[in-house]
Amino acid sequence: MNRLRRFVVIAATVCSLAAPAAFAASAVKTPDFERVKLANGATLLLMERHDVPLISFTAVIRGGALTDPTDRLGTASLLASLLEKGAGNRDANTFAETVASVGGSIETGASTESISVGGSFLARDQKLMVELLADVLQRPRLEQEQFETLRDRSIEFIRAEKDSDRSALTPIYGAASLFGAHPYGRSVGGSEASLAAIKHADVRQYYDDHVGADRVIIAVAGDFKTAQLKTLLSSAFANWRKAGKSLPVVGKQAEVTARRVLLVDAPDAVQSYFWCGNVGVARSDPRRASLDIVNTLFGGRFTSMLNTELRIRSGLSYGANSSFDRMTQGGSWELGSFTRTEKTIEAIDLALATLDKLHSGSIDAAQLESAKSYVLGQYPLALETGSQWAYQLATLEFYGLDRSYIDDYGNKLAAVSLEDAKRVIDEVIPTSQQLVLVVIGKAEAIRDGLRKYGPLTEVKLSDPEFQAKP
């Protein structure tokens, strides 16, 4: 909350529909960068940019929630938080003071497939930046007392989230319901129950097993001299050990063929928050450009079919959208919206009817061209800053993609035909009968109405798990 609001002192209390997800692609070409592979497997990526006196970095460690012990979900996430709570010869307080005293930032986090450490420092502090990053990754203190504090607070954070914006929770329940026991169904941050089961020794074990040089990608972009920073980073990471275990291989989850419903009871809710999804595509899927066009038209921008129906025409909701979650294997394709409790069934019916309309061939040539212009026109805004480039470089490396993923995207978008669009709708976008439907809302008011969508499982928002018990 702090950082976002500082220099922009105005309180933007109320905004229109949140920005549609920024898609890839355009006339932007990847600036030159250098890739260095150290003998221990660590990968370094360096891109000079001299527009502002900052250096940004993204370090990504393969693993993440995928490598959580199945009965201790949230372990990777807790470890990520613990990395910056004291490292090297600095205890947690000294570490925080050191970062703040130079106006730096270091943020750690976990995702389904990785742990990441990102941040930025003023250019003059590059030596300190490398020292702190090396300490965080190679010499975290992982102290018991810090661990316990963090674990307890993480449990409280989940409770606090359940008291705020419920639309942010539907994807967690959605993934759990869609992927079940598959690793992509895990709540990255764990649950109240799973976090309570994690011991200090589990986090130490996770660090030994799943953090090491052969798992790491370090991407840096900003105001530095490549030769100098390369030397600093190479010597800081050359002697790091490898991770104790090998990375598990994850298979593709089968798609859902028959619709089912998860109802999450929030007795005090005045709106229902709904989510529909099925298994989508992998990051490397060659149909990417066609799929981005199709999703933009269906639920990826303000005038999309979904937002037009649920917001613009009917006034049922403040917003509706759809998106792909692209991972090593097929992640989810999902749509989401919300409406007042009395209108729940009407809004879900409308969302599903809109999906049927997409399948019945509603996209025309003018819309196709509009979506191309839109995706292409917005793309450079995701490739503007050092911090964005560090993230992009790390992402390309993580998924085994090369710069053509960015540089050729504009041409690929331009080449998408109506036939391509229709084909990927058939092949990838689920029909309204092939979905997992998740609704957070006042169960007693909507339970009966929801039954028509398929077999219904009900849990409580206050339950300490996201996964419904079989």
């Binding site: 922009v8 130079v102 106006g103 003023l122 003059r124 008291d163 006034g315 450079p380 503007e384």
Partner: protein, 449 residues
Amino acid sequence: MIRSLLVGLALVAPVAFAQVPGGNEVRTATLANGMQIIVWPDHDIPNVALYNWVHVGSRNEAPGITGLAHFFEHMMFNGTSTRAPGEFDQILEANGARNNAFTSDDVTVYQDWFPRSALETVFELEADRLQNLSFDPKVVESERNVVHSERRLRVDDSHQGRLQEQVQATAFVAHPYAIPTIGWPSDILSWTIDDLKKFFSTYYAPNNCTLVLVGDVEPDKAIALARKYFEPIPKQEPPRPVKTEEPEQLGERRVAVNADAQTPLVQFAYHGISGKDPRRPALDLLTRVLTDGDASRLHRALVEEQKLAISADSYFTAGFDPGLVWFFLSLPADGDAKQAEAEFTRQVERLIEQGVTKDELARARSQALADFWRGLATIDGKAQALGTFEVLQGGHKKLFDEPRAYEAVTQQDIQKLAAELLRSTNRTVGVLKSPPPPNEAQTQSGGAK
């Protein structure tokens, strides 16, 4: 001047005084109808950010029409006498542009992000909706529901939102900053087309707008386009100024909200300063010492050491008139709101009595300066910053003095400001928690916990 420069160099290194790159290329113009234009070319990416700052917010509302400024933020996308509802977005998106808007207590800001090829189209559409907005009753009714849905999302189904609305309404007894920007539900449901028309003609005048463009544009061309599309729109009588001043608060105010909450919340709102107040950098540094990062005082004391809270945050509003300095505590599920409040107050009183250390000031200043640069790393951040300074903080040129203004703040400045603002008699305290169950006594004697 020279002295503060040297001190700055010693503490924060030369970068703090580096000229903001391209800052000397900012061009301004005033159209014949009074509309202000500011252009800052930046050719890093082939895109442009346009912000149209309309000088109207919930501060300009009254009972019966609360939420109307924000409602306009929605209506401005909904058709003109020359274009049907929806065409605005369709044309922009087909030209590669995205748009949005936000409303605050003070201003309503319309934003477009687009490839440079769409420049003239964007000017044409922005001028059209400023001049020719239409009010189709069907569209108004539909959009009323959209706004109500937004209110349920942000306020009614969010405990932080619900409490903050109550605290703000309690903190002001005279000034319209008491009004929630989203509007009270009964007003959202009942404002009329006539209310809309009157509001539009009063506030949506070119002489009440500041247009900011940053990105891949030539200033001469942008200003010429502004003359072509905006200059024909007639100037209007300036809106009536808001003259009400909030009287001095004479004692602490409290507000309680009962909700079925897993985690209790405590909020504090102190009367603060306006955007033009020269103490703004000092107030920013003061709040950073208290809540910015793991090394800050409130985080360390309440979250890390005493575990009374799971988070401690702050921000302050500084608009046309003196706003509020906010502090937000989220408590653990079994948290004691009284104890958390007492410790918060103790920390604030300690700061008033003893001031901040040299190290704390240096740290807060480094964080502020680094955030300054992070904010200027994008064309969007630059447009936001230029507009904020021009409209609310005494002129866009002040943006470029910002590092120097932060260097000039002393430990004494911060202590003095804390003593003046962070008094208990100057604050409103809000607490949100579950009401005690009716059979609490029995449960306790039964030893259920």
